[in-house]
Amino acid sequence: MSAFIMSAALSYAQIALALAACLGGFRLLYGPRAQDRVLGLDTFYVTAMLLFVVTGIRVGSPFFFEAAMVIGVLGFVATVSLAKFLIRGEVIE
């Protein structure tokens, strides 16, 4: 029973997150403005992170945690620098 519940929930979560990533990817690809792309990438990062966690649950392995944590702590650096570039035209000044 719980196996079924878990299996269903996990499959759902995986697919939902993958779809979310897909939609983030849509903004990433479609734009129309650069900000949209960055926003899309940001979403992409977060969903990927969540996907790691879900996958970790699914395969019962704790080893996905590091990757998820690195995204959680450092993932924003990429999007922040992209965003700052949009505002200032350079990342470091």
């Binding site: 029973m1 719980s2 196996a3 519940i5 878990m6 299996s7 269903a8 929930a9 996990l10 759902y12 979560a13 995986q14 939902a16 997150l17 779809l19 979310a20 990533a21 897909c22 939609l23 983030g24 849509f26 903004r27 403005r33 650069a34 900000q35 949209d36 960055v38 926003l39 899309g40 940001d42 979403t43 977060v46 969903t47 992170m49 969540l50 966690v53 879900v54 970790g56 649950i57 699914r58 019962g60 704790p62 945690f65 998820a68 944590m69 959680g72 702590v73 993932g75 924003f76 999007t79 922040v80 965003a83 700052k84 949009l86 505002i87 000044e93």
Partner: protein
């Protein structure tokens, strides 16, 4: 998936619930991101994912791992905290970038820039006596 079969229902159900909740909210956020018409609107969408979307999934993980390990495993909390701390930075920058661009383009409905008495652009001089590089153009390695 062997270890999941041994789960008691009272663990499985909340875990499944939080998983579904988190995934759904994240998905909804992404749908919003894709469907909403204005950029400022879209700016709100991902926060569904970074707030309860993430929280749901992380909670599910915490409950499950804590149960399997037989002790409180809360390291997912770290992810949650830092996700919350760091998300504003990107979004603030992005919002500001959009604003800036809209102001230049004169898009209607955008609040204008506040009049200010700023001094012209220029970097702030470093505190005296603490200068690491006599010449800023000298890259590090020399200091």
């Amino acid at each position: 998936m062997t270890y999941l079969e041994t789960l008691p229902a009272w663990i499985a159900i909340p875990v499944a619930f939080f998983l579904v909740l988190g995934a759904t909210l994240t998905l909804l956020g992404a749908i919003g991101l894709a469907r909403l018409q204005s950029f400022y609107d879209r700016l709100h969408a991902p926060t569904l994912g970074t707030s309860w979307g993430a929280a749901g999934i992380l909670l599910a993980s915490m409950i499950l791992v804590s149960w399997t390990e037989g002790r409180a495993v809360l390291h997912e909390l770290v992810i949650g905290i830092f996700l919350m701390v760091t998300t504003p930075v990107t979004l603030m920058f992005l919002g500001r970038a959009a604003l800036h661009r809209d102001r230049i383009e004169g898009t209607p409905g955008i609040p204008g820039a506040v009049e200010r008495s700023d001094v012209p652009i220029g970097p702030v001089s470093p505190p005296e006596g603490e200068t690491a590089f006599a010449d800023p153009a000298e890259a590090p390695g020399e200091g």
